[in-house]
């Protein structure tokens, strides 16, 4: 698995997770990822939007226009049923993977 693919897949999963509590616009998704990871995960906003649009194309999220907290026209994303299922699957995979890596590292 190439690094880029790993990163892309990871970013997609993080974005899906961000949306799992309800619809958000892209800016909110970006801020949440930056703040929650406390700066560990530092991606360009551009990559994030590419991820959002890619997820929309795969019908894992859907979008609609709405008004932001300060009454600006903003594009809101929300999970689809398929997106939710995908998130569940990917989270399980990640946990299993991380556990395995963790186990190996502790053995050393």
């Amino acid at each position: 698995m190439a690094d880029l693919d790993l990163l892309q897949g990871t970013l997609d999963t993080l974005v899906l997770k961000t949306l799992s509590w309800g619809p958000r616009h892209g800016y909110a998704v970006a801020q949440w990822i930056k703040e929650t990871s406390e700066g560990t995960i530092n991606v360009e906003d551009r990559a994030l939007y590419v991820a959002l649009h890619r997820l929309e194309e795969r019908r894992l999220v859907e979008s609609k226009w709405g008004l932001s907290e300060n009454n600006r026209k903003a594009k809101y994303y929300q999970l689809t049923a398929a997106g939710r299922a995908n998130l569940r699957q990917k989270s399980a995979d990640w946990t299993a993977y991380a556990n395995a890596v963790f186990k190996i590292l502790r053995l050393v």
């Binding site: 360009e44 551009r46 590419v50 649009h53 019908r59 859907e62 600006r72 594009k75």
Partner: protein, 885 residues
């Protein structure tokens, strides 16, 4: 992914045009928001702006990338939405058809018959008119005729010297070749007659046909006295040699002499003018035949040189014929040539018939479509509420029309598949009713093949659009919901549309019925022709004596005499005789000079159809003796004077008082022939053609090895032919009995009868089916309108309307439609009549009696179809009718 309409409302509905704007809006929102946040934390607006851009990354690249992603997505979704909605339409249509099985079954049956008949006839159109001829570059092939005195009816085959001069002098053809039809007795143990053709050596080269096995003829193999080499037809090879490839080089027995097989022709090769030919041999006519410039026996085909037009070739041939007329005036005066495309020559005679039948099935399909459209209109009116609900839920008009069309196309496709099954059996039946002797060989291979399948699909879709579009447009019309709110029950415009469709059906039915009636009358006229002999209880067969064993005239005469004597002795046989050519069988003509009349110009001497007959032949056929005597034993004596019997047409043509008896003529190298008797006229070719002067010579004075035997008896033909077989086997070992058949059967199967009976059968069947459809249409529309007017009728009853006036009200509705339809139908029949005029016999294409007859029948039937709904109208209970609202 679910695409039901309400969901669609919540979806971000981007189109390809708004994609870039949306991407920009989203990006601007992000950057503005970030700048605001940073400024709120105390950063200067300029710094905040710079940081926001840096965090974002390459803005220009992002713009392009996101927009292109979105465009791809929108495109993909549009396609999949479309497929999903079509699938949904199909499911919906299937569900709604299942809910109305009676409706679906009626429509499918109607369409299966309509499309099936259409595809069946199309298979014949395709085989006969559309499929390319099985020759290389067949469009460059032409057929050549000689024409006498510019009269195309007076055309003939070429003489061999003329053919040679055409080959030598023309500048238009790559090459010319000749052929003529023939027959062989094949085999010696159980000899059978097989169809054959004899050709010049280059015949297959001109057609561009190569042998499937072995080779075709090479130059010189058609020379006088050359050893006989033959090619086998593919079917004959399969039947008689089980497809054995080693047949090439073998010797087979033809007419009692040996011939070497040099090849087998390809399966697809056929030459329609000659029928299903078994054996192809080089021409083998004697020098006498080949040197006579006035002897016309060779059919000629030619291949046009590249770039030479038909007109140019015609002009070339005309100038050659003019030269020949100057060089050989006795034989070639007044002779020209005719050049016609080979395809026209091969199928020209059946083209009008095939197109006529195709027109008839097209009419039938139109009526079927009209009927289905009517059913859909009525059903549409019944489910207005359902459609209104769908509109209220946000279904667009276009979407609704598409959905209704899906239903129509589905009906059409299922109907089409059923139709192809109908066609499969229909084609079989169709070919089966064509007598073998008039069946073109191309029909052997017709069936539901690729072109017919494709045609079936196209016709189904066309039919679906035809019958579905108008009802769909009506059902989803704008303002339909308003109309429904106001409680109107089916507008009167819909009613008018339905009435017009039914009137159209009636009109088309008139056209088909009058066509069928005209062919019916032609057939009746044809069958009541005075044949001049009695065809009932008359059996005929041909007997062939192998040449090798019966070289002597005396043995030929004696053998046939013995056979006829023994046949006469059979129980139940009233009379028997032999003749070279029976009635309805073309023979040769001879020219002669009448003794005592001034000599005629060469080429213009009197002619007569010629045949030789035994004593008792006229009695056997019951051809009346007008004057003079029949042949008798005296004429059989070796030294007896030459005598002849002529028909009345002969007498009328050549003698002022119509009496030929006692006159004499000279022909060929023969002695003077005295006419001793005159008999009634019998057709020598087609029964609907005029009867030419005919000359009979005593069999004993001009014997042949191939004679027809006529037997008058009431006994079964099968039994008789078995007994004839036994007699021939015992009397003349090695001889063959060919084609035993009842004379009346021969007439029924003849081309002139067939050309009326076949269209009568088919158009009659189509007309009957169409009539039923039209009556169902009348019945349906009237019943429906009675059901819709229940309330109105109830009020009328409540107000004291008489039963009679209610019945009249309903019947009048049907009668109006019938009247309008009949009027339009008669007009159409008068216009279309010219297409059948040439195929009728003894009745005009615009025969008023026929048109009146079918109009009355159809009008009466239409009114009768309204009786049931009319009775229903009288039983309307006003109380129930008014409560129902």
């Amino acid at each position: 992914m679910n695409n039901d309409n309400p969901r669609k409302l919540f979806r971000h509905d981007a189109t390809r045009r708004t994609v870039q704007r949306d991407v920009d809006d989203e990006m601007r929102f992000h950057l503005d928001q970030r700048v605001d946040d940073l400024v709120a934390r105390g950063m200067s607006p300029d710094d905040a702006h710079r940081l926001a851009l840096r965090e974002y990354g390459d803005v220009r690249a992002a713009r392009a990338e996101l927009a292109s992603m979105d465009r791809r997505r929108v495109r993909k979704w549009a396609a999949s939405d479309w497929f999903a909605s079509v699938a949904q339409d199909v499911r919906f249509a299937a569900r709604s058809l299942r809910k109305r099985p009676g409706f679906a079954a009626t429509v499918l049956l109607t369409l299966a018959l309509g499309i099936g008949a259409n595809a069946a006839i199309f298979s014949v159109v395709d085989a006969v008119l559309l499929e390319p001829l099985p020759f290389a570059r067949a469009d460059r092939l032409v057929h050549l005729w000689e024409v006498y005195e510019s009269n195309v009816d007076n055309r003939s085959e070429a003489s061999y010297p003329d053919y040679l001069d055409w080959r030598a002098r023309n500048r238009s053809f790559a090459d010319l070749a000749g052929y003529h039809g023939s027959g062989f007795v094949f085999g010696t143990e159980h000899p059978e007659i097989v169809r054959a053709a004899k050709t010049t050596a280059n015949f297959f080269d001109v057609l561009g046909v190569h042998a499937a096995i072995g080779r075709t003829f090479v130059a010189g193999e058609d020379a006088v006295g050359a050893p006989t080499r033959v090619l086998l037809g593919y079917g004959f090879w399969l039947r008689n040699f089980a497809g054995d490839r080693s047949v090439v080089g073998r010797t087979i027995m033809l007419d009692g002499t040996a011939a070497t097989v040099i090849g087998v022709l390809p399966k697809e090769f056929q030459f329609a003018r000659l029928g299903d030919v078994s054996i192809w041999a080089p021409i083998d006519r004697s020098n006498t035949m080949r040197q006579g410039r006035g002897v016309h026996w060779l059919n000629v085909v030619a291949r046009l040189k590249d770039g030479v037009s038909l007109q140019a070739a015609s002009a070339d041939m005309t100038s050659i014929m003019a030269q020949l007329a100057r060089e050989y005036p006795p034989t070639n005066n007044g002779r020209d040539s005719q050049v016609i495309p080979l395809r026209d020559q091969l199928v020209g005679s059946v083209r009008p018939l095939v197109l006529l039948l195709y027109g008839a099935v097209a009419v039938m399909l139109l009526v079927a479509c009209a009927n289905v459209a009517n059913l859909l209109l009525m059903r549409g009116a019944d489910r207005q509420r359902e459609v209104a609900v769908r509109i209220a839920l946000g279904a667009g008009r276009g979407r609704l029309i598409r959905q209704l069309m899906t239903e129509s196309l589905m009906l059409a496709m299922v109907g089409g598949v059923a139709g192809l099954v109908v066609a499969r059996y229909g084609i079989h039946a169709l070919v089966g009713i064509i007598p073998a002797q008039v069946r073109p060989p191309v029909l052997a291979s017709v069936g539901v093949n690729a072109p017919v399948l494709l045609y079936g699909c196209l016709v189904s879709v066309a039919a679906g659009v035809l019958f579905g579009l108008v009802p769909a447009l009506r059902e989803a019309r704008p303002g339909m919901v308003e109309a429904l709110k106001q409680g109107s029950r089916g507008s009167s415009r819909a009613g008018k549309l339905r009435d017009a469709l039914v009137a159209g059906e009636v009109a088309l039915t008139i056209v088909l019925m009058s066509g069928a009636a005209l062919f019916g009358r032609s057939l009746v006229n044809l069958m009541s022709i005075q044949l001049g002999f009695q065809a009932e209880h008359l059996m005929t067969a041909s007997v062939f004596l192998p040449d090798a064993n019966y070289k002597e005239r005396v043995s030929q005469i004696a053998t046939f005499d013995r056979i006829v004597d023994r046949v006469r002795a059979l129980p139940g046989v009233e009379a028997a005789g032999t003749v070279t050519k029976l009635p309805l069988d073309w023979g040769n003509s001879v020219g002669f000079d009448i003794v005592g009349q001034p000599p005629t110009e060469p080429g213009k001497e009197p002619t007569a159809s010629y045949r030789s007959a035994s004593p008792g032949y006229f009695t056997t056929l019951r051809i009346p003796m007008t004057r003079g005597r029949d042949f008798g034993a005296v004429d059989a004596d070796a030294n007896a004077p030459h005598v002849g019997v002529v028909n009345n047409a002969f007498g009328r043509a050549y003698f002022p008082d119509g009496n030929a008896v006692g006159q004499a003529f000279v022909y060929g190298q023969h002695d003077t022939v005295r006419i001793v008797g005159q008999v009634g006229d019998v057709p020598i070719g087609n029964i609907d053609e005029h009867i030419p002067p005919t000359l009979y010579i005593p069999f004993a004075q001009d014997p042949e090895t191939y004679m027809s035997v006529a037997i008058r008896s009431r006994r079964d033909v099968g039994e008789l032919s078995r007994e004839l077989n036994r007699i021939v086997e015992q009397t003349a070992p090695g001889a063959a009995v060919i084609h035993p058949v009842a004379m009346d059967q021969l007439i029924t199967d003849s081309a002139s009868v067939f050309m009326r009976r076949f269209p009568l059968l088919l158009i009659g069947a189509f007309a009957a089916a169409t009539l039923i459809l039209a009556l169902v249409g009348v019945y349906g529309v009237v019943s429906y309108s009675v059901a819709q007017r229940t309330r109105e009728l109830g009020i009328r009853v409540a107000l004291g309307a008489q039963t009679r006036s209610l019945v009249l009200l309903v019947v009048r509705h049907g009668a109006w439609m019938a009247l309008a339809g009949v009027t339009a139908g008669i007009a159409a029949a008068l216009v279309l009549g010219r297409f059948v005029a040439g195929m009728l016999y003894g009745v005009g294409a615009r025969d008023p009696a026929t048109l009146v007859f079918v109009s009355v029948v159809l009008g009466a039937a239409a009114v009768a179809a309204t009786i049931v709904p009319a009775r229903r109208a009288t039983r309307v209970d006003p109380a129930v009718a008014l409560q129902a609202e």
